[in-house]
């Protein structure tokens, strides 16, 4: 479904962030992208929806070559790629509902979005998604009144209302506590399974990634150095990805914690 061909990015400063990366991701697969800071994880997912312009190489999404698109076609293609951010990146002075509906901006005209007159179907879907992430009672709260976990749930709803085929997830748990991190990861993976979505999740927490994803890609200095199932990560492969360190504790099997309902999560 998504195919990266020899994807390369060189920044204006001369830093080579991605070195001819080849990755193929089938429909419905959730992939964790791990690697040290500066390995090119953020650059990689931003090259897919072209928030960062790749220098060379191709990005093929369902047979469409994204790197060749003009600005109008690029906007249309972006609609089908939901993005979830590290610091949530909600528009803080807008309400929760406005933030969720902003995911529909690619589908509605300027005046409708300016006057906040979204089609009823979009409003219904927004309420359905807010209910799914346990925040439907918060619709008219301003985004900056929410806790970190709640904000990330709004971020997830905003990405999903785009009706995406692919989720690009950049460090979704980096500013969350361990319990909320698990809840958010579980929520993302459940939603991907419900909708048969593919997802690329940048993540620093290797153990957390191992708990939830089907495949792990390790990136170092812009190159893929590991690509395989999460349970085959060994201290040696982690050393290859991150450098020398004692890895035994990191890949210890983590017990699956108790199932948390969305209501409970909303309070957290």
């Amino acid at each position: 479904m998504l195919k990266l061909n020899q994807l390369t990015k060189r920044y204006a400063t001369g830093d080579l962030a991605l070195k001819a990366v080849d990755v193929e991701i089938p429909k419905g697969q959730v992939v964790a992208l791990i690697g040290p800071s500066g390995a090119g994880k953020s650059t990689l997912i931003r090259c897919i929806n072209r928030l960062v312009e790749p220098t060379s190489g191709g990005v093929d999404l369902n047979g469409k070559e994204l790197t060749k698109l003009g600005s109008g076609a690029l906007r249309q293609a972006r609609r089908r790629m939901g993005m979830i951010f590290q610091e949530y990146a909600l528009v803080e002075r807008l309400t929760v509902m406005e933030n969720v509906l902003s995911g529909r901006l690619g589908y509605v005209g300027f005046w409708r979005s300016f006057l906040r007159r979204y089609p009823q179907s979009a409003v219904d879907e927004a309420f359905r998604l807010l209910e799914r992430v346990g925040l439907d009672h918060m619709a008219d709260k301003r985004a900056d009144e929410l806790s970190g976990g709640q904000r990330q749930r709004v971020g997830i709803a905003r990405a999903l209302i785009q009706d995406p085929e692919l989720l690009l997830v950049d460090e979704p748990t980096a500013s969350l506590d361990p319990k909320t991190s698990r809840q958010i990861m579980r929520l993302i993976c459940e939603l991907c399974a419900e909708r048969d979505l593919a997802a690329i999740i940048n993540i620093h927490d290797v153990a957390l990634a191992q708990m939830f994803v089907q495949r792990v890609i390790g990136l170092r200095f812009g190159e893929v150095v590991y690509d395989g199932p999460p349970n085959e990560l060994t201290p040696d492969t982690l050393t290859q990805i991150y450098g020398e360190e004692d890895w035994e504790a990191t890949i210890e099997k983590v017990d699956e914690e108790e199932v948390v309902t969305p209501e409970e999560g909303a309070v957290a």
Partner: protein, 268 residues
């Protein structure tokens, strides 16, 4: 632990200017300049003494300001000033917004940026009085010249500060909106506008305040408003009428100040 036994290490804040010779010569140089500058002032003490009497009468006039005998002149001048202030502020804001957007480096392409910065530089280079003299020469005496002058000055002030606020916005919020496939105007409306709105409102109120005060000066060069009335009152040595006008100006400025405080607290 032998280091703890040796003498305590001294620490002083490093001086702003490292070179001690440069530091002291700058200091002594500015002192000498200050003394010479004060010495060069020519004060005609006998003229000051004569003026004291008139100054005293003017200050005493504040104890019995005369609102009555020139009331129709005061009223006309004041209405002219108020109308000039409100219309020029509104026109200035409407023109400033597109120029401010164009002058923000993070959202405007370089050619647009240079043109908009150029407009701002021209507007800021010329003081209101100079513009007013020019406008009076073109449009003749009266409030039209004042209206154009104040609108022109508002553009320089508001566009510059708005552009700087746009440059300070949080990139990730705007990036998130872009990732949804939003068009340019939608991106501005959702990603940028909510972040700069409080400051734009605060600055507009502040500019309203400035424009009112400026409108009182513009009368001196024939551009309409309360300044003309005030000038006439001084020319006729009607200090009690002048005192009345100044009291009204102070009252209005204080009301505006209070109003802007209330509004800014509301929009945070």
């Amino acid at each position: 632990m032998s280091a703890t036994l040796s003498a305590p290490r001294k620490w002083r804040k490093p001086p702003l200017i490292k070179n001690p010779f440069l530091r002291w010569s700058l200091l002594l140089g500015s002192l000498a300049y200050l003394l010479l500058a004060v010495g060069s002032l020519e004060v005609n003490w006998s003229r000051v003494y004569e003026g004291l009497d008139r100054g005293g009468r003017f200050i005493l006039a504040f104890t019995h300001p005369d609102f009555i005998s020139r009331w129709s002149d005061i009223y006309d001048g004041m209405m002219e000033s108020v109308i000039m202030t409100i219309t020029s502020t509104a026109a200035g804001i409407i023109i400033s917004i597109p120029i401010g957007l164009g002058a923000a480096r993070n959202i405007a392409p370089l050619p647009v940026y240079i043109i908009c910065r150029g407009i701002i530089a021209v507007s800021r280079a010329l003081h209101e009085i100079i513009v007013a003299i020019l406008m009076v020469a073109i449009f003749g005496f009266g409030p039209l010249a004042g209206f154009i002058t104040l609108s022109f000055a508002t553009i320089g002030f508001l566009s510059k500060l708005l552009a700087e606020d746009i440059e300070d916005t949080d990139r990730s919020q705007a990036e998130a909106i872009k990732a949804t496939g939003a068009a340019w105007l939608q991106w501005i409306n959702y990603g940028i506008q909510p972040q700069v709105m409080p400051r734009l409102i605060g600055l507009s109120m502040y500019r309203l305040d400035i424009n009112f005060r400026e409108s009182a000066i513009l009368g001196l060069v024939g551009a309409g408003g309360i300044g003309a009335t005030l000038n006439t009152a001084f020319d006729r040595y009607e200090f009690d009428t002048a005192a009345a006008i100044i009291i009204i100006i102070i009252t209005i400025v204080m009301c505006l100040e209070y109003l802007s405080g209330v509004i800014r607290a509301k929009v945070q």
